[in-house]
């Protein structure tokens, strides 16, 4: 009886300690992704697709500063990721793909490769794992990046550097990779 009581008390203590550690990395990554995904969908649909494809008043272009046009949705997201990284915010994120227009955005680590393949093979599911980079262990989550607007599909299908040109609306085109140092 005493042993059982000690076991229950120890378990309660450990549970309490875990609670004191704050939010679990998986939940934090999910929450971060929800914000990224919402902003990305809104910018793509409400700004780029509306102005470029529907109202035809302003296009999005890779060289948006020189040409005084809109940043591409992927550039907009990367600008956010770089700003977060500069502020040393405690996490990083990146937009990657197995078929990137810019080859610097193809997977670089084994976990990125596995994660991107997983979210393609398992629609609706996320990929979670751990990896060690530069001496630091990271919790790494990969979320499917789905083509939400015709602007995404047409740009990737028509780009001369795109390794794939048969994307369809609603299809997974890549993934958002979120890393939290442990």
């Amino acid at each position: 009886m005493r042993i059982a009581a000690c076991f229950v008390a120890g378990l309660a203590l450990l549970t309490g300690c875990e609670k004191n550690q704050g939010i679990a990395p998986e939940r934090m990554a999910d929450a971060i992704f929800a914000v990224i995904e919402a902003d990305r969908a809104n910018y793509t649909n409400q700004v780029v697709n509306r102005l470029q494809n529907e109202e035809k008043v302003l296009e999005a272009d890779e060289h948006w500063q020189d040409k005084k046009l809109l940043p591409l949705p992927a550039q907009m997201m990367r600008m956010g990721a770089e700003r977060v990284a500069e502020k040393n915010s405690g996490f990083n994120y990146a937009l990657l793909s197995l078929w990137p227009v810019n080859k610097q955005n193809k997977p670089r680590t084994e976990l990125e490769k596995n994660g991107l393949q997983y979210v393609i093979d398992n629609p609706g599911k996320n990929f979670y794992g751990r990896e060690k980079l530069g001496g630091t262990e990271y919790f790494t989550a990969v979320y499917a990046d789905v083509g939400v607007s015709p602007a995404c599909i047409s740009c990737h299908n028509d780009h001369v550097d795109s390794p794939r040109n048969d994307f369809e609306l609603g299809q997974t085109m890549g993934g958002v990779v979120i890393r939290i140092p442990l």
């Binding site: 272009d61 700003r83 990284a85 680590t109 630091t136 028509d158 990779v177």
Partner: protein, 451 residues
Amino acid sequence: MKSYQFKFWHYGLLLTLAVGSLAAYNLEVADKSLFITGEMSHGHHQIELDCMSCHTDGFAGEEAMQQSCLNCHAEELELADDSHPRKKFLDPRNAQLLETLDARQCISCHTEHKPEITREMGVSLAGDFCFHCHSDIAQERNSHKEFGFETCASSGCHNYHDNGTLYEDFLIAHEGQPDLLEDAHLPARTAMQMWLQEHPHKQPLQPEQADLDLKSGSSADIRAAWAQSAHARSTVNCSHCHTDNKQQFSSLDVVEQCASCHSEQRESFIQGKHGMRLSSKLSHGLVERTGAMSPLQARIPMQADASGELNCISCHDAHSVNVHYAAVEACLGCHSDEHSLAYRDSPHFSTWENNPENGVSCASCHLPREPRDGQIMVNHNQNHNLRPNEKMLPVCLNCHGAEFALAALADKKLITQNFKHKPAEKHRTFDLIRDRIARMSNSKNQKTKSQ
């Protein structure tokens, strides 16, 4: 009296004290020159005695050093839309690449005090440094498979930082232009024109209206020069500059005084090698100790009689503020390298002789007229578009086609001859661009057929 017996270690102690005192004196009181570990690059040699500007307190570490670099260079990198900004490399997925080349730190590529390994642009890495991250470029661009990695950043094709005019869409847009454009002209300066529009009823000041009575014999000449100047035209009287009847100005005084009306020109002037010692970002008191830059301290060939400090009135005479003199005569009064000496035999000089307002002077290329806030202003940082020289392309494009201009900027012999002839060879970049245009066209045609 007992004579003191010196022992060997006494001499050692005295020698150590003497050397230590000399070092301490040099470090704390004198110019710190004993502590310079090697010759500095051409970009920093003027400020080599201002150790603290880069090293801060000497023990602050890499981050502080990085901040020192950004303290002077951040704005330029921002303007250039830096292709490899530090923020790009903060993602942990780059960890393996950073182990080879830490692109987050300027000093990874620009190590100072190492003249034996320092190349153009102050780069202290081997010329094929692009390989570290782009070793698989031939898989992405089949057209690049025959190129050596040492040519990426040295052939007028790519720059590490500034690719403002070296990206595909820009070159495609400028493909097929003639060597000399039909409507070749430089943008007109707007400052005086705008002032006249804003002050239509103001009349030029006359010599007798000068409000400072000089007693010296040259006063009539000064008064006459001023009366013909843009200052007299825009009702800037003597006392605007000679506040409190001030007659003697240091270089710092001159630049500050001019900046009270020409602050943008001051900002660009102190970013270049002519004015960098006058920058407020350097340690307080440096310019008082070293003086402003002088042709005598330059590392490139200068005229034997060139002397004095560089400030606004070195090129623009203080009273005539003559922009035409400043555009050619002032430059050639100091510079005597081959490129400068060849200018008077160049077609550019002919255009200048025929039309000083719109001809091509030294300043047309090296102190370019640039759009800023709805005006055309002269960028007084003469080094801005030479780091590297493909950055001069926007200036050339006022008169020349991009293919012609890029070929000229890549022809080192032609540059030495001050563009006396047409470039000997075409630039390979445009062959690649034409291949690329054909690929894009084929790609579109195939898609149209398949629909």
